[in-house]
């Protein structure tokens, strides 16, 4: 069989791209089938349920769109990473490296051609999956998962996320010298980053005043581009505002993800252009990735070993005790030596591994030192009122929202906590009443600032009571009551003396009257309500459809609230259980 003579259409990069895609066609078809089975296949099967059809779905079915979005996002991220590994595996073998690098292509074009082949192989099934959703919306509106713009937005986020994940993996691919070390560095780095995020979070939680779990998310997002992408996509699908899949309201992260993608791509191109082909078959083409992974592994190993010796509870050992320090150093050195032995296939660079272990120790204790010193002003920072858009105080299961103008009350409380050193270590709590306070500021520049304290109430009771008895709190309660779905509401009353819960069915007006009475009595009862020490009864009001979304009125009462308790006795009980 011979080739027909024709003029050569020269385009090595496109030729290589086309060739690779043609060889990936089997995987592409499998992915298309997989995606179509899930979406719309499985979803349509679910929708055969009559109740689904009967509902009004003008706004789509966000919960199902979420499933598709999450499924496609995770699947495409995994597949593109694997596809990149396969398409760039030529780097790790001399014979294949020779052939690819001898082709009349610049390294940049070679990298883009191979990466594009991976991307297109994922893009095709992804596009077909979303097109099927689009067609459902267009031709079978009763089965629609979302509006056209929601589906298009979800698709766009998926595609850009895939590009970023791909570009990110390229850095590791180019830096590795063998397939084994690629997997080791990629998995090792990304897992280590998460562990280190947890370590920083744990250390900060212990030693940094004001540190909150919200900050953990911020740390994870900062340390890991993959976590940033995943969490941001989740926020995009489930925003606090409630309007999911809206690029105009929640799409700001796309710019960051795109910027990451560009930066990673440029970095991988630069690294590839300077990569020495002869490093194929060795552990790493660039030593820095090995050093970074080694140091990260050292921190993880040191921390894990020190946990064994710093037991919670009666043990007085802390991170900075002799036992804590020695166990960390031992763990870090053992880990870097083992990591070095795995990478170098033997203890060839024992001394260097010890140096990396020492670097892990220095880094870890540097982090602790930073945390101890207040993390560059983290623990003493209070935002200026002019920069606050909205402020929220979470206390006693209630969120008290304050506008920009009234946020002064919260900053006053915040300053009082810092100035009077009211924040205590949860483990050292003594007999004085304490409570958790969560302060969240939404700033005008779009950022958020969160602080969490376990405070000695007596030190800040004036500022806290001012907020608790303030008009903002009650304005919100009344507003929430107005927004309740039905005219009739339920009120659960639990008595602490016998743990008997009685449910009353009352009107909104009766509930408002109850809140009025409570509001009037609050100043008289005074600051002792803050401590919850003398509470005898707990109230929780909710409408039937809001039960799982939190109650608009949730308070605990002492026996000083005589009028409020008396008022409740006039309500009609519908249920009582002990």
């Amino acid at each position: 069989m011979t080739l027909k003579a024709s003029k050569n259409k020269l385009n090595p990069a496109v030729g290589l791209l086309g060739f690779t895609i043609s060889k990936n066609i089997g995987i592409i078809i499998l992915m298309v089938i997989g995606i179509l089975i899930f979406c719309p296949g499985l979803l349509l099967a679910t929708f055969q349920n009559v109740t689904f059809k009967q509902q009004n779905f003008d706004a789509g079915r966000p919960e199902y769109l979420n499933m598709v979005f999450g499924f496609c996002g995770v699947l495409s991220a995994i597949i593109i990473t694997i596809a990149n590994y396969i398409n760039f595996s030529y780097l790790y073998k001399k014979s294949s490296s020779d052939v690819f690098h001898a082709l009349p292509l610049t390294r940049t074009k070679l990298l883009i051609s191979r990466a594009a082949a991976s991307f297109i192989s994922v893009l095709i099934p992804l596009t077909i999956g979303y097109l099927s959703l689009y067609m459902l919306t267009a031709f079978y509106p009763s089965y629609a998962l979302g509006t056209f713009s929601q589906i298009a937005s979800a698709y766009l986020v998926n595609v850009i996320s895939v590009i970023m994940v791909s570009a990110y993996s390229l850095i590791f691919i180019v830096c590795a010298g063998s397939a084994f070390d690629l997997v080791l560095s990629y998995v090792g780095f990304n897992v280590a980053v998460l562990v280190i995020g947890s370590i920083i979070s744990s250390v900060s939680d212990k030693y940094l005043s004001g540190y909150s779990t919200e900050n953990t998310n911020a740390i994870m997002k900062t340390l890991s581009p993959l976590v940033f992408c995943g969490m941001s996509a989740e926020d995009f699908a489930f925003p606090e505002s409630g309007a999911g899949y809206s690029l105009s309201q929640n799409g700001g992260f796309l710019l960051k993800v795109s910027a990451f993608a560009v930066i990673f791509l440029i970095a991988s191109i630069i690294l590839y252009n300077y990569r020495k082909s002869e490093r194929g078959g060795q552990a790493y083409a660039y030593k820095f990735i090995y050093i970074i992974c080694s140091v990260l592994a050292g921190i993880c190993g040191g921390y894990l070993l020190s946990r064994i010796f710093i037991l919670p509870g009666p043990s007085k050992n802390s991170d900075l005790s002799i036992v804590g320090i020695i166990s960390f150093i031992a763990g870090a050195l053992i880990t870097t030596v083992v990591y070095g032995a795995v990478t170098d296939r033997g203890f060839k660079k024992f001394r260097k591994s010890l140096i990396y272990g020492a670097a892990s120790v220095v880094l870890y204790f540097a982090v602790i030192a930073v945390v101890f010193s207040g993390a560059f002003g983290f623990s003493s920072r209070v935002p200026e009122i002019k920069n606050i858009e909205k402020a929220i105080l979470s206390f006693n299961s209630e969120n008290i929202e304050l506008s920009s103008q009234s946020s002064e009350k919260l900053t006053a409380l915040h300053k009082a906590i810092i100035d009077r050193e009211a924040d205590d270590d949860v483990y050292d709590t003594v007999d004085t009443p304490h409570t958790y306070l969560n302060l969240t500021y939404e700033l005008k520049d779009g950022s958020k600032m969160s602080r969490e304290y376990f405070v000695d109430i007596k030190k800040i009771d004036d500022e806290l009571f001012a907020l608790y008895s303030g008009k903002e709190r009650f304005a919100q309660i009344y507003s929430d009551i107005d927004n309740m779905g039905s005219r009739m509401v339920y009120l659960d009353v639990e008595k602490y003396e016998n743990y008997e819960t009685t449910t009353y069915a009352i009107s909104k007006d009766q509930l408002k009257a109850l809140v009025d009475t409570y509001k009037n009595e609050l100043p008289r009862v005074g600051k002792k309500v803050l401590s919850n020490e003398e509470n005898i009864v707990r109230l929780q009001a909710y409408s039937h459809d809001q039960y799982y979304e939190g109650a608009p009125f949730y308070v605990e009462l002492t026996d000083d609230f005589t009028d409020t308790i008396a008022l409740m006795e006039n309500f009609v009980a519908v249920e009582s259980e002990g």
């Binding site: 080739l3 385009n11 290589l16 060739f19 690779t20 014979s95 001898a102 390294r107 002869e278």
Partner: protein, 299 residues
Amino acid sequence: MLTAQNLTKIFDGVKALDSVCFEIDDGCVYGLVGSNGSGKSTLLRCISGVYSPDGGKVGIDGISSFNNPGIKTQIAFLGDTPYFLPQSSLKEMAAFYRKTYKNFDTDVYNHLLSVFPLEVNKRLSTFSKGMRRQAALILMLSCKPRYLLLDEAFDGLDVVMRKTLSNIIIDSTEKYGMTVIIASHNLREIEDMCDHISLLHKGKLIADGGIEEVRGKIHKVQAVFEKMPETDVFNELDLMKIERQGSVVSLVARGDKDDIMRFVESLSPKFCECIDVSLEEAFIYELEVLGYDVKSIEE
């Protein structure tokens, strides 16, 4: 013209190529021989742009080939282990190379297929070692490059195919003006087809020139003496090796044949003759001077 100036390549502190200099004219067959690990493959990889030099430069007409598609399109490099894109057939590879090399000639490809009868639609991964090499050679030759670089070109080929390939290479240089550089550790294999030959040892080019030129530089003389002269007497020659056995002296020296013979005859031997050395012997003597001989390895 392909030139290298002080070409140096270092792997983990070891010089795989150490200030190599050469010039290769177009249209010749250039043999590159050397011991194992002498740097032959590294040199080919530097020429083809796979490796970037750590010092000096190598390129065509003074232009470096590394990361330069314009130069690389004039070079086809076949490494010691042929590699093909995964799951590809010969036909698919040919289609790929046709889009990659501007001089890919379908007629040449079809002609070579008649010489090396291979199944074009079968996956290359199912081919035997020799067949894979044949397939790779078909593709490289079809590209009609200005420079064809072959690393252990005959490895895995049977006798008939070796001869056939040898003829095709010579034919290609004559027809298309192709320059072929063949690296091999087996000198006899390439001796007959090369116009020019170089010897590499530990990254250094220790001999370089036309076949006759290289061979003609080294001479082996056997002489019988009634009264054996002192060994030091022969130091006036550019002596590479000397052995004494009774009244017989065997020596290998560099230089002009007549000058060497005149010198030996001046010592009044009973009998003396100059024996032609083969190219292989010439290179073995060169390597022995550098300490690379069977004896030193055994020690």
